[in-house]
Amino acid sequence: MNFLGQVWDWFTSSKQWHGEFGIPHRLFEHVQLSAVSVLAALVLAIPIGVALGHVRRGGNAAVIVANLGRAIPSFGILVLMVTVLGIGAGPTFVALVLLAVPPMLTNAYVAVHGVDPDAVEAARAAGMTPRQVLWKVEIPLATGLMFAGIRTGAVYVVATATLAALAGGGGLGDVIVNQASYGTAGVIAGALFVTVLAFLVEGVFALIQRLVTPKALRYDEDVTEVLLGPPVIEST
């Protein structure tokens, strides 16, 4: 197909690999914005999720956060933040943090809440203080599932960071949105690039998740649990 040839030519033309408008710079912007957003979401979501799971309260709140997270459009938050912060990476940052918090928080809650009560009971019987139970029993046992939420959030963030272009925040979305300067072949190349990046992040996080999960708790999850969290049978 001639069109694939054009995409290939676009990719291999040296113009795309240099300067502020080149792919490496756009990729750098994309990764930087995603990384900062994921970190901020982590700092917000994990302590709250772990705390709620530890005291075994707030299950309804966790479900509400998860549902609201799905209902709030990132595009709307992005534009809302543009009217507050102006054009730039800031609005996308806020939208991405809001996108990543729900899966991270809910998974952290579910992970800590779901730790075998017998293990917690045994730790208490052995004389551990509540703080020791949290740090030496609950958190280590919850790490794998907790990380699954971080992974879901990270994949959402990398995919959605594409929207930054609409608010003048740069990133690979700029290549997709800016057909005037990059051409149709460029748009397709940019789209392929973002997709590959999302899969790459997914793969890297899958590997880290495996490494941080205690050996006895490793299992072969199916791909959907990563993207959607544990199977939902009934949610209210």
Partner: protein, 224 residues
């Protein structure tokens, strides 16, 4: 009607603009609902047979999950970028990604729900003389409804939020009001679009919960 204090073009919401643009807002809301129903509807039309096939030929389940998972991970804007040169700035270009994002959720929940029907129940159905298709339609599917509806609800709510992005390829929806707010640096249409999107998602969720309640009379009163 008393006017609110500090109400003008620069406030978060300017009621007189809303009053003057009710027709536009109503059309955007209507188009948003149409896109939701069409996308989730097509998603179901594809997902139901796919789930039935996958349950019969179990070996296909992993590849189907992998493929739908792949489609789920492609950013919407990227998919629009790929499709626009082929299908143009049309509703088709908007619907293809919207449908493809529902498939993973729907297929997984339908299969999980049908798998969860216990062997005892199947045995009892056979004992009552049910076979094949009748057993599937009258025993297994009804029992799987809570799981299937959980999938439909997640798919619907996510689709309603995602539809706002189709404004960038020129499709009318509540996203068009949000985009209008961006283009003109004008908060009122943005706030109207954003609030109505979230409200629509929550109402759709409650509506589906109501339908589920009507379809599963035996489950009522079991939970507080």
């Amino acid at each position: 009607v008393p006017t609110l204090a500090a109400n003008g073009p620069d406030s978060w919401i300017w009621w007189s603009w809303v009053g003057d643009h009710l027709a536009e807002i109503r059309t955007a809301l209507y188009e948003h609902i149409v896109l939701t129903v069409v996308s989730v509807g097509i998603g179901l039309i594809i997902a139901i047979p796919l789930a039935i096939i996958v349950r019969r030929y179990r070996r296909l389940y992993a590849p189907v999950l992998w493929l739908t998972g792949l489609m789920y991970a492609i950013p919407a804007l990227a998919l629009f970028g790929i499709l626009v040169p082929i299908t143009g700035l049309t509703r088709t270009t908007a619907i293809i990604p919207l449908v493809s994002y529902t498939l993973l959720i729907l297929v997984r929940n339908i299969v999980t729900g049908l798998d969860a029907v216990s062997e005892d129940v199947r045995d009892a159905a056979r004992g009552m003389g049910y076979t094949g298709r009748a057993q599937f339609v009258r025993v297994e599917v009804p029992l799987a409804i809570p799981a299937i509806f959980a999938g439909i609800r997640i798919a619907t709510v996510s689709t309603i939020a995602l539809i706002t992005v189709t404004a960038v390829i020129g499709q009318n929806s509540l996203g068009q009001l949000i985009l209008d707010g961006l283009n003109r640096d004008f908060r009122t249409p943005l706030v109207v679009g954003l609030v109505l999107t979230v409200v629509l998602a929550l109402i759709a969720d409650l509506f589906l919960l109501g339908v589920q309640w009507l379809l599963t009379p035996w489950a009522r009163g079991r939970r507080a």
